[in-house]
């Protein structure tokens, strides 16, 4: 339960933001724009195996939004509290383990990621785009939030300024949005690029989140995602443990 005060603090803040006018709207903006531009515009000319393009796109947008929001909330929140507000000092000086600090932030990031996804899921259900909430879908979503919240902790711990967090986002997060199978199946890409893209975590989220049943490829995807999550968790926790001003 050591993670609880950290989680609680983030949630108090999140709740406050929620009530601020326009917050929900802004967080909906990006995925809705993609939905309109790609789903209705471009989408008509894209052929996807089995079913409509919208049915293909929606899970991809859920993966993308949950990634963005889980990552951003944690990376920028942690960076600000470390570099600017200095509130991170209070956590370091409290008798709690680095993994508890980690867990508090990760859980908060997951809530943020899930919240953003929920909006798109509601749109998807409303649009009747052949889109179903299966247990595997929910599991993938949770795992994806977990993964990128962990990445957020690591980046939040190593960035020196707040701008750096968006630099990392532009280098690692944004390319994944476009190449990891959010908007079109990755098998449309040249083989070399496919091999590269298969190393990216979001690719596996996109593979898994569109499956109706778990198969070999799905299990591989889970293992890759868990591997990344573990990697970020271990590095992030070590950064917190070795923290020194």
């Amino acid at each position: 339960m050591n993670w609880y005060p950290i989680f609680l603090r983030e949630m108090i803040q999140f709740k406050k933001k929620l009530f601020r006018l326009g917050y929900i709207f802004t967080s909906m903006m990006v995925p809705l724009l993609y939905l309109l531009a790609f789903g209705l515009g471009l989408g008509r000319s894209i052929q996807v195996p089995g079913g409509s393009y919208l049915g293909f796109l929606l899970p991809g947008l859920v993966a993308m939004s949950s990634m963005n929001n889980a990552y951003n909330w944690v990376a920028s929140g942690l960076n600000l509290s470390r570099v600017y507000f200095k509130t991170f000092q209070v956590l370091i000086q409290s008798p709690i383990a680095p993994t508890s600090i980690m867990a508090g932030y990760v859980l908060a990031g997951m809530v943020r990621g899930l919240f953003a996804s929920l909006m798109i899921i509601l749109v998807g259900l409303g649009a009747r785009a052949g889109f179903q909430l299966t247990p595997l879908f929910v599991f993938t979503l949770l795992l994806n939030c977990f993964l990128f919240a962990n990445m957020g902790v690591l980046i939040g711990m190593i960035t020196k300024t707040h701008e750096d967090t968006s630099t990392y986002a532009n280098f690692f997060i944004l390319p994944m949005v476009f190449f990891s199978g959010t908007f079109f199946p990755i098998d449309r890409m040249p083989a070399v690029l496919q091999a590269v893209v298969l190393c990216l975590p979001l690719t596996h989220t996109n593979i898994l989140i569109r499956k109706t049943a778990l198969d070999g490829q799905g299990i591989t995807a889970i293992l890759v995602m868990l591997g990344y999550a573990l990697f970020f968790f271990v590095l992030g926790a070590r950064k917190i443990k070795n923290y020194s001003e």
């Binding site: 507000f85 509130t87 709690i96």
Partner: protein
């Protein structure tokens, strides 16, 4: 209670703390003085697990600050020089999160007690952002004292506080000591160090250049001070061992002078060659 052995901290080429060794006893109020950049805050940060030392060792209640940080953290309360309150939260929530992080029992009651003691209970629901500088400072002190820590670190605790509140903070510090606590404080207010400290250490460029009771330190540099103006109107001072010396100097100089008892500031100026009060 606190033990430093050859403690050193380098920031690149800057040696912020240079081979510090001293001890602070249980139930002592220890004042750390020194000019800007002397290494006071860095020393406190090392002792409170925020900065890892480059060399030497430090222990609190027998627990090494690097190897057993969790045990150290259980025993300390910290008032940092720089405000690190959660500006997005209310005063109450700031203390609540802190109390939860420290597993404090009877938290609500403790929070009320502390907020009342710094006269912020009525403002408990307000956002920190709406607090004046002095109110934020008081809240920082209330937060540090919340769990009744065995060792309280205060880095310039009363900076920006009005005289009345400052006196109240002094009483809080004394109360904590009366309850068996140990206090390490830094300050630029000499009268604060004199009023509170059992012993005073003077830091200059990361090194400890004097350590004693305020009375002994004053004796060391001379108990009397002659202040006089030179031809251009600059104030000069002369330290004298006793009253006779001071009077002798007065007669010889044959100028308009003022004689007073020495204070810790004189100790400081003499030892560091720098003025302390900002």
């Amino acid at each position: 209670m606190i033990k430093l052995e050859h403690l050193t901290k380098d920031y690149g080429k800057i040696r912020a703390v240079d081979d510090l060794s001293f001890q602070i006893g249980r139930n002592e109020i220890f004042g750390l003085l020194g000019p800007n950049g002397a290494g006071k805050s860095t020393t406190i940060k090392i002792l409170t697990t925020l900065v890892k030392p480059s060399g030497g060792r430090a222990a609190l209640d027998g627990f090494d600050v690097v190897r057993e940080p969790l045990e150290v953290k259980k025993r300390i309360g910290v008032v940092p020089q720089e405000n690190n309150l959660d500006r997005e939260l209310s005063a109450f929530d700031n203390l609540r999160i802190y109390g939860l992080l420290h597993h404090l029992p009877d938290l609500e009651q403790k929070i009320e007690e502390q907020l009342r003691s710094v006269d912020l209970w009525e403002r408990r629901k307000d956002n920190i952002q709406t607090f004046s500088g002095g109110m934020q400072r008081r809240l920082l002190i209330a937060r540090a004292a919340l769990g009744g820590p065995r060792v309280l670190f205060l880095d310039e605790p009363t900076i920006g506080l009005d005289p009345q509140v400052r006196r109240e903070i002094w009483n809080m510090i004394r109360r904590l000591r009366a309850q068996g606590g140990t206090v390490l404080l830094t300050t630029h207010y000499i009268e604060e160090a004199e009023a509170l400290s059992d012993r005073v250490g003077i830091l200059s460029r990361g090194k400890l250049i004097a350590l004693d009771t305020p009375a002994n330190l004053k004796k060391m540099v001379g108990e009397y001070v002659v202040e006089y103006l030179d031809g251009e109107g600059n104030q000069l001072t002369r330290m004298c061992a006793g009253r006779e010396d001071a009077e002798c100097f007065l007669r010889e100089a044959g100028i308009e002078v003022r004689r007073r008892r020495s204070n810790l500031e004189d100790v400081f100026v003499k030892l560091t060659g720098e003025r302390i009060e900002k």
